[in-house]
Amino acid sequence: MAPLLEVVDVEKSFGVKVVDALCLQVEQGDALGIVGPNGAGKTTLLNLIAGDLSCDRGSILIEGEDVTRTSPDWRCRRGLARTAQIPRPFEGMTVFENVLVGAVFGAGVPMSEAHATPVAVEALERAQLLSSANTRAGALPLLGRKRMELARALATRPKILLLDEIAGGLTEAEVLELVETIRAIHAGGVTIVWIEHIVHALLAVVDRIMAMSFGIKIAEGDPAEVMASPEVQEVYLGVAPE
């Protein structure tokens, strides 16, 4: 069977190459972490996978199907969901309505609101946002916004969930709560690809890590081994191995 997600030789340049000849395979049930210094091209890679940016070269496949030329909404309906590093809330709508959008339109065929409501409620519960369901999204604090990104993505009932620094900016206690939430989502059968700088949070969830620098994959494999490898120590932690 084809992998759930396949990135083949993908390139993106903004004047300089930000993602360079990158290949990646994610199997159903994987939990992959992506690390790399600021500006390494992690978010750009995620945008290419989700369709928010178009590839200069290479292709993206979901379950063996080439989706390189398709729109982000189409990829979402094929089972790919993401959270954004900078949350993209619908500020004038309530938290519930925000999540309802994902539940209604993220399904393969748009769902009726009546059918989508329990899906949205479940997503709100999982993201621990149910108590603020009728709050205007624009009034949410940072943690709430991050949780809402997660709830909206979950409401699309994804096969694969792409998380971009969802733990960034949170307190230690909040990070631990979020880790539990993501573990539960993964345990529920959702494949995870998680970009994160907070390494201990990542290590608590993922079973594989890819490290990138200047758009190039520099290491991939067992989390502990990758984090301990000299290449990663050098570029990611800024430690030159003497």
Binding site: A50, D52, S71, P72, D73, W74, C76, R77, A81, R82, A84, R88, P89, F90, E91, G92, M93, T94, F96, E97, N98, L100, V101, G102, V104, F105, G106, A107, P110, S112, E113, T117, P118, V121, E122, E125, L130, S131, S132, A133, N134, T135, R136, A139, R152, A153, A155, T156
Partner: protein, 355 residues
């Protein structure tokens, strides 16, 4: 399953619905005590301007499609009615419906062109395309060229003046009330959910599976069709026309935009307030057409700068009102949040113009 459900109305919006229902019944019954037509006839322009303003509001305020080419659909409606009723002998009132169909069909190739353009370019693009339609009408021998064309008594069949006045009035009323109802209905539907999400964050909406182009296209066709039918009713009210007036950007877009902006774009109630203000200005300056444009234009410009959400926005800020229930509230176990009415954390009537 989870024991949660969604409610739409609160006390204010139920009140709003009740008031509009009573008003609508009064207006429907009006012909029966307005014997000589002295009320019906002058109300027709107020009503068709409300229909036009609501349709522009749907486009610009909810789908982000700032069209300044609405006159093309008015003109298409006018000339469809003329052709069908005058040249092919179709019943004029049936032709009003055909005007809606023709406008909807023609709106598709227009969208294929204009939807490639963004923001200000879209606005200019729709204007240019409307000009092309005007030139086609002006050059077409079949449509009558630059000549004045009139919907004649013959093609209006055996209908008496009184019947004609009443039917035109009721049609204009149907278009105005229908336009408002379409807005409320669209906003309450999944399409409305999509539009509001697009308005707040287009990329975010796409990421959640919302097909942005499709949502906008549906709105575009609805608006074109309704505007086309309104154009046909404008001809019924004022049976002589020329290409210059049927495709007038000033009458059928600029004035409409002024009305919508003054009342409040992006809300279902704003254009109703705007058209009431238009009525006032019209009564005040009965025969000064140009002055009407200038004064309304100045008010609209002042509003756009000082109160971008119009008079309705000011009212809403003051009293947190919501007349038509479009907002969804989740009720059930585990939900905290503001007291019913949502005044502590108002989620605006699908209405923030934040874009």
């Amino acid at each position: 399953m989870t024991g949660h459900r969604v409610t739409r109305s609160d006390r204010q919006s139920t009140f709003g619905l009740a008031v509009s229902a009573v008003l609508l019944v009064v207006l429907v019954l009006l012909p029966w005590w307005d014997g000589d037509g002295s009320l019906r006839v002058p109300l027709v322009p107020i009503l068709y301007y409300l229909a036009l303003a609501q349709m522009w509001n749907l486009l610009a305020g909810f789908a982000g499609l700032v069209s300044i080419g609405q006159q093309m659909f008015v003109g298409i409606g006018v000339y469809t009615l003329l052709s069908f009723a005058e040249d092919f002998g179709v019943d004029p009132y049936l032709s009003v419906l055909l005007a809606g169909v023709v406008a909807a069909v023609l709106s598709l190739p227009v969208a294929a062109l204009a939807f490639r353009l963004r923001g200000g370019y879209f606005a200019i693009g729709t204007w240019v395309i409307a000009e092309v339609f005007r030139l086609i009408a002006l050059e077409s021998g079949f449509l009558g060229g630059a000549n004045v064309r009139t919907l004649t008594r013959e093609s209006l069949g055996g209908y008496s003046v009184d019947t004609r006045n009443t039917v035109t009035y009721l049609m204009a009323l149907g278009l105005a009330a229908g336009a408002t109802a379409i807005l409320v209905f669209v906003l309450r539907s999944r399409l409305g959910l999509a539009l509001r999400s697009i308005r707040d964050n287009q990329e975010g909406a796409r990421g959640l599976g919302v097909s942005v182009t499709r949502a906008k296209l549906v709105v575009w066709v609805i608006s074109a069709s309704w505007t086309g039918m309104t154009g046909a009713v404008i001809l019924l009210h004022n049976p002589s026309t020329r290409a210059e007036s049927a495709f007038s950007v000033l009458r059928w877009t600029a004035l409409v935009v002024f009305i919508a902006i003054i009342g409040g774009v992006g809300s279902t109630t704003g254009p109703i307030i705007g058209v009431a203000i238009y009525w006032g200005v019209r009564e005040f300056l009965e025969d000064a057409d140009e002055w009407r444009f200038i004064i309304l234009g100045l008010i609209a410009a002042a509003m756009a700068i000082t109160a971008p959400r119009g008079v309705y926005g000011l009212l809403q800020k003051r009293w947190a009102v919501q007349f038509f229930p479009v907002r969804r509230r989740l009720v059930g176990p585990g939900i905290g949040g503001p007291a019913p009415g949502g005044q502590s954390q108002p989620a605006p009537d699908a209405g923030s113009t934040a874009r």
